[in-house]
């Protein structure tokens, strides 16, 4: 092995903060249905604690062996509405509390999959599920919820989407004391993948094996540092965008390989099937771990300035090209995330007026997810929130990609006020919502937006 390869790898770990962002264990809970809710809750608790009892310690031990930090250890479960067929909202709340307890007892900070898949229709128990969410997300600490309301194959369920708009408001209100933090644990999806390891939208899809390990690769900091090094060593005058894209590709290859290595080792140690590596660049509020910073390195002074969408398109594409060859199986969301509150540079761009909701929405056409962690005024009405979500879902449905919305209407705050959740959930100014209150008639139609023409391929 060449010594310069060794030294560049050491640099990635020491100076560029190479890590594995998350190892997420997916657990199928469909065999946990008991004769009554109490037995179901006991079975849920037992299955999670028995499958994941040594999960955190195993990840830590592999992390020590290879000298690569595994930042987050998480669990995703079968969308809970499938297990809760026939249950009432109180029963869903009891299941959430069992999940919360199990997550706490196995030492993980977040569990995803308190979810429903309602893209075509709603069952009575899925309506009960929705009713339970304000209490679930305010009375549990670790449980995250997500709902899939649309797919490119089936269209968008606008009845469910309208309920989502109201649920976002209700959850935020139920967690008013924490500035609506509960809404940060609730994501609405179009084309939600069943193997995404990143929270809050991770689920263990029905198509998956009983237990599976999925890995999320390192954050954007490594790419940003690699680009800075390239520019310093090569000189701006000698670089063009295709050369920069090539550097992103090669760096992503290395980053993904690390994820693949850790995933395989944890999977072997726990005797659990290794699922996928998710290539997503997931920023954190930590300085130097920002997707927004990559925009600035590539030449826009603020995220949201003209050129931002083109940069994001190139970044997202180069990340996929580099990562796909590096891993046996790529899956999940795999692209670049632009979660406003979790990315300090994006949050700054909101603060100085460079990044508005409309520009953010256009950027989500070319990134891997959508309107993520966007704080909006608490006064925005439920139907406007539903309509914002509908726009985002339409982008996903028509473009055959995953889109999501995680909006936080911060109770009592208006545009320009500053909200902070601390930790990984970050902080940002509240983003203004223009044209609020003008979409009620559209949302009130209900029904479904039919599947797009290009879904008819049979």
């Amino acid at each position: 092995m060449k010594s310069d390869h060794i030294l560049s790898t050491i640099n990635m770990i020491q100076k560029e903060n190479l890590d594995v962002r998350t190892v997420t264990m997916g657990i199928n809970l469909l065999d946990c249905r008991g004769r009554d809710i109490e037995e179901t809750c006991n079975l849920i608790y037992r299955k999670i604690t028995s499958k994941a009892g040594n999960f955190v310690e195993t990840c830590n031990s592999i992390s020590r062996k290879f000298g690569i930090p595994v930042v987050n250890k998480r669990i995703s479960i079968t969308p809970i509405a499938h297990l809760g067929a026939g249950y009432k909202s109180d029963d869903f709340l009891r299941m959430a509390k069992s999940l919360d307890q199990a997550a706490s007892d196995v030492g993980i900070d977040i569990l995803g999959g308190f979810s429903a898949q309602v893209e075509k229709g709603l069952t009575p128990w899925e309506r009960e599920y929705f009713k339970s969410l304000p209490r679930v997300l305010s009375e549990t600490e670790r449980v995250c919820a997500s709902v899939n309301v649309g797919t490119s194959q089936k269209g968008i369920n606008m009845d469910a989407l309208a309920i989502c708009g109201q649920t976002v408001k209700d959850v935020a209100e139920a967690t008013r004391a924490q500035n609506g933090f509960g809404a940060a644990k609730f994501v609405v999806f179009c084309n939600q993948p069943g193997d995404n390891p990143f929270m809050a939208g991770a689920i263990h899809g029905l198509e998956e094996a009983d237990t599976v390990l999925n890995v999320g690769v390192s954050g954007p900091g490594v790419i940003a540092r690699a680009l800075e090094r390239l520019i310093e060593e090569t000189g701006k005058e000698n670089l063009t965008l295709d050369l920069i894209a090539e550097e992103i590709k090669q760096t992503t290859f290395r980053v993904t390989r690390c994820g693949e290595l850790i995933g395989r080792e944890v999977s072997k140690a726990m005797n659990i099937e290794f699922g996928i590596v998710d290539l997503s660049l997931a920023p954190t509020p930590t300085i130097g771990d920002s997707v927004g910073e990559i925009f600035q390195i590539l030449g826009v002074d603020d995220v949201g300035a003209p050129g931002s969408t083109a940069i994001l398109a190139m970044l997202n594409d180069a990340v996929k090209k580099g990562g796909i060859f590096a891993s046996k199986t790529v899956g999940g969301l795999s692209g670049a995330f632009i979660p406003v509150m979790e990315d300090s540079v994006l949050a700054d761009a909101v603060g100085n007026g460079s990044l508005c909701l409309e520009k953010l929405e256009s950027m989500t056409c070319v990134c891997s997810v959508g309107l993520d962690m966007v704080a909006i005024p608490g006064s925005v009405d439920a139907e406007t929130i539903a309509a914002i979500i509908a726009d985002e879902m339409a982008l996903g449905m028509i473009n055959n990609k995953t889109t999501a919305a995680r909006l936080i209407p911060v109770p009592g705050m208006e545009a320009g006020d500053f909200v902070s959740f601390g930790g990984l959930f970050g902080a940002s100014p509240v983003m203004p919502v223009r044209n609020s209150g003008k979409s009620s008639r559209f949302i009130q139609w209900g029904g479904r937006i039919p599947a797009p023409i290009h879904s008819f391929k049979n």
């Binding site: 092995m1 060449k2 010594s3 390869h5 060794i6 030294l7 790898t9 050491i10 990635m12 770990i13 020491q14 020590r64 062996k65 290879f66 000298g67 690569i68 290395r254 390989r257 690390c258 693949e260 290595l261 046996k328």
Partner: protein, 185 residues
């Protein structure tokens, strides 16, 4: 009866050394199984593993190689390998780590690292150093005995490094292979 020997070659560097040595082995009906070669400061060094179909005396191989020598520039040493693996069982099985050390050049750095590894029964599989200005770089492939945890070695190496003014990083070798090579093992 087959015979395996290891041949060490040291010479002032010039074109044709590898050809000369390889031809001798070929003429003796030997098979060159493995080799490692490098040049340092104008001196050529090579170590070869060769297999012979018959029980060829070591003296005969040495004589033939000596015939290449034209004075003190080229020296060859031939040894029978004997048992293929004479490392302690647990040592041969342990994980391989890459240690990189960087610091100001001073005497005794390699000796200190070697002494630490020797004292802990850590086998050094490869050792490269590089002097760049006043900075000294060392890269070692080490194999840890199975009963020695990487955490312990990292901690102890950090102690040794502190005394020597070195910054040391130790990472599992498979990390470098995984990150830098196309094929996945």
């Amino acid at each position: 009866m087959k015979k395996q020997v290891v041949i060490s070659v040291l010479s002032k560097d010039r074109p044709g050394i590898i050809a000369d040595i390889a031809n001798v082995i070929y003429e003796l009906n030997g098979d060159l199984a493995d080799m490692s070669q490098s040049v340092l400061s104008g001196f050529f060094s090579m170590i070869i593993l060769a297999n012979f179909d018959r029980n060829l005396p070591v003296d005969e191989i040495t004589r033939k190689l000596d015939s290449l020598s034209t004075g003190p520039e080229l020296t060859c040493v031939v040894k029978e390998t004997g048992e293929k693996n004479n490392l302690a069982g647990n040592q041969a099985k342990g994980d391989v780590y890459v240690v990189t050390a960087k610091g100001k050049n001073r005497t005794g750095l390699v000796a200190a690292m070697g002494s630490y590894c020797g004292g802990r029964e850590i086998n050094i599989l490869g050792y490269e150093t590089k002097l760049s200005g006043d900075a000294y770089y060392m890269m070692l492939d080490i194999q840890l005995p199975e009963n020695l945890s990487p955490d312990t070695v990292r901690e102890e190496l950090a102690g040794t490094a502190g005394q020597l003014g070195l910054s040391i990083v130790m990472q599992h070798k498979s990390l470098f292979e995984t990150v830098n090579e196309v094929s996945l093992r």
